[in-house]
Symmetry: C2
């Protein structure tokens, strides 16, 4: 394919049509082995003992340096930078001029003038584009996520990145640190010992249990992992390394939606951005999966209030999208929920793949049924669409399929709604899905986060605070 | 773990106990991406259009060279070498002195004094050990299979190895060859053009449809694959690359059992071999999975007649195990069959993973439910064990779970028997399986190969001929 800008592509076709028929294949968690033990035991371990997540490969990393670094980033953030000291991290959320989420990253402030930003491509691209406008004295270094199918070729990153989680994780920390670790506050950074090294550690807790995210030069990865595994063994902890099949399902229990569609296709002010983006960028090559089909790409956008990021929005600084959010505030009708899929209906879907006379329903792959980089399945109350299901996964801990999504204000917790599972007309042109029939799956509206442990033990953050 | 010989290990523990509790994890198809499109469509493609299998990584390769090469190999083969000309391949089967299968390889005769042997580790190890005895003027070069979890490190092989299969494969061959390809007989080798190169091609047909296996220097892999994909595109063929999740299930439709347990643990004559083998070899670190538990490892052995290799056995030469096979011939009571799993019972197993109050049954992973390097599930007629199920997989083409295995002579095609699914006492110590309950799955005894296409169109070989 000749290189084209996103703006050119959008003159030729509707973006929904383009993304629904992407040929790029599954959006995977790359490089990491599919399973270390087995995905059921790996899921159980983050609830019952401890897990080691290898997050070295599935996220972009952007280093933002220079005298204007903080100013540059603040101008793109709904978040306040007033209390953003060094050795802290923020859940950084940029929005479009019309106030729609572009994506989200974890942003580390390493020094006064140096930030490290980690997450999916849309935020990286947005940072790179804005830096390219030359209005700030900043230097950006971009390390894109690892290839989806390295096929035996060497993969290199700037940093390794591990997370250690689970109820028994503290025993590992103490053993590897050679004594109690510093009392790090949630989303703050300190130094801990691992093997012979001092490494940076962020107090985190993705799967609902307390944990640390540690990172360092990629060349030290094997040595650091070996030290962690040894510490777990010495501490008598049943630590499971988590493979690519189980990894993405941990968010179902904790309630973060990793996959909002970047809201960048329609704002007239972003035409320059769409000219900067090419057919090779995520925004043009990614995929939309699911039963919800609208001609208007803006119908797939989300705003920070809907995703539960309202508590981040601070009007103490100027930023792209501020005006729009000021108008939105208090008028947002949708909220984030967990959908619990009806087991009988899930079984109905699976059993259709055992019948030869009709096209099966869309296969529910275990433990990760997603088949696009962003998912949108319609959730109905009778004939009326009252919600969207946006990220799916089977939880062995909860013994059910869950999804994260949004519902209208008319919907109450406990309501049983109907999700339309699968794409219309036999499925789209995506290579990630087989031809299939649509069907209905009953879903029960539940709290977010769903997991009891996550709900009760999580540090104060978007996961527990109500959106403002 | 300190290095120990297999002989030493066997003094400490029963080999069944050792292999049933192996901590090595899944026996995977390494390096190749899990999915290129999606595993359902990839399975469908080998039936309906064409597939590209990347076989560069999951098999050992042993090059056997020297003036005694043929004599050396013939002395370890049930196969006759009388008609083994250059540019042919054989399905090479060595047995133990007691006549039990050690494994099987595909053996290519490249020149008069040079053979290339490709397959699982047990045959490689057996060749290496026998060469080490110094009785033959041969030189062996061993390239073990690629690592199961390369974790972003570069993987190198001596050769790339591709297979192109499916009803539309001939259109690709003609396009890439720039004209009709030579009329190669089954399991014969000739040269074809791919891109600018001449490459060796074996006429093969693993998924039941005619195909070619091609190989060459690993450095040329990407170039050759690109040429194949281009030829398919130019020929208008919907070629699917097959990922690691679908790959191993192709054998369910064609009827080859890839995973016999090497019968090397008990023959007194093999004590030297067991002293040569270490704890790191497949024979000590591999795993036995399934409901069949016997104290006697010999109960897991198979002979060539049972596996359908009787037609290969030729007493025109002397070979290890000849005497035993001469006695066995005509007295073998078991035969290879396909088991078709009852869909309702499969659904019962799956639905147990949606109940919170009891331990689920052993998860049936799709499309590949195996959880050991060798599987042995009991197949019962009432209280009597009448068969063993040995290799499992879901076939989207047949819309059912199938397994390959053996039954006693009392069993007839069409009989409905009961397979015990899962391991006793909550499961063994294998990391590849979660704790689980045992249950029953009804299985219908069917022909081997199961697939109609494979049954009808396969070249004359062990797959269609009756065992002698």
């Amino acid at each position: 394919m000749t290189k084209k800008t996103l703006a050119e592509l959008l003159k030729q076709q509707n973006p929904v049509e383009m993304l629904r028929n992407s040929r790029i294949g599954m959006y995977v968690y790359p490089v990491v082995a599919p399973e270390f033990t087995n995905w059921r035991s790996e899921q159980a371990a983050w609830r019952n003992s401890a897990v080691l997540f290898d997050q070295s490969h599935h996220m972009d990393e952007v280093v933002v340096e220079g005298p204007d670094a903080a100013k540059f980033l603040e101008g793109l953030a709904i978040n306040s930078f007033a209390n953003f000291g060094t050795n802290r991290a923020k859940h950084f959320v940029p929005v479009s001029p019309s106030g729609h989420v572009i994506g989200d990253h974890i942003m580390f402030r390493e020094t006064e003038n140096k930030f490290i930003s980690v997450g999916r491509a849309p935020v990286s691209n947005w940072l790179l584009y804005n830096a390219s406008l030359g209005k700030h004295d900043v230097k950006l270094t971009h390390s894109p996520r690892s290839p989806s199918r390295p096929d035996g070729k060497a993969v290199n990153r700037i940093h390794y990145r591990f997370q250690i989680q689970g109820p028994d994780a503290p025993k590992i920390f103490e053993k590897m640190n050679g004594g109690p670790i510093p009392d790090i506050k949630f989303f703050h950074v300190d130094w801990v010992n691992i093997g012979g090294r001092k490494v940076q550690a962020l107090r985190h807790g993705m799967a609902g249990a307390p944990g640390l995210e540690i990172w360092g030069p990629y060349a030290e990865k094997d040595e650091v992992r070996a030290a962690i595994l040894k510490a777990a063994e010495d501490a008598g902890v049943d630590l499971h390394q988590v493979g690519s099949r189980a990894y993405s399902t941990n968010t179902l229990e904790s309630g973060w939606i990793p996959s909002p569609l970047p809201g960048i296709y329609t704002d007239p002010e972003l035409e320059g951005y769409r000219e900067w983006l090419s057919n090779e960028h995520y925004e043009a090559s990614g995929s939309i999966a699911g039963s919800y089909v609208s001609d208007n790409i803006a119908d797939y956008y989300t705003n920070p209030y809907e995703l539960g990021y309202g508590i981040y929005v601070k009007f103490d600084h100027d930023f792209v999208g501020r005006e729009a959010l000021e108008k939105m505030k208090g008028n947002v009708k949708r909220r984030k929920v967990t959908f619990e899929w009806n087991a009988e209906d899930v079984m109905k879907v699976i059993s259709s793949s055992f019948q030869r006379d009709e096209l099966p329903y869309k296969w529910i792959d275990f433990p990760q049924p997603n088949y696009g980089s962003s998912s949108f399945d319609m959730v109905m109350h009778g004939d009326k669409m009252v919600g969207l299901s946006m990220f799916n996964g089977y939880s062995y801990n909860e013994r059910c399929v869950l999804s994260l999504g949004m519902v209208d204000e008319s919907v109450k917790e406990g309501d049983v709604l109907t999700m339309i599972w699968g794409e219309p007309n036999g499925g789209s042109g995506k290579t990630s899905a087989e031809p299939h029939r649509q069907t209905e799956i009953r879903v029960r509206v539940s709290a977010v986060p769903y997991a009891r442990e996550a709900r009760e033990n999580y540090a104060e953050s978007w996961r527990t605070k109500k959106a403002g």
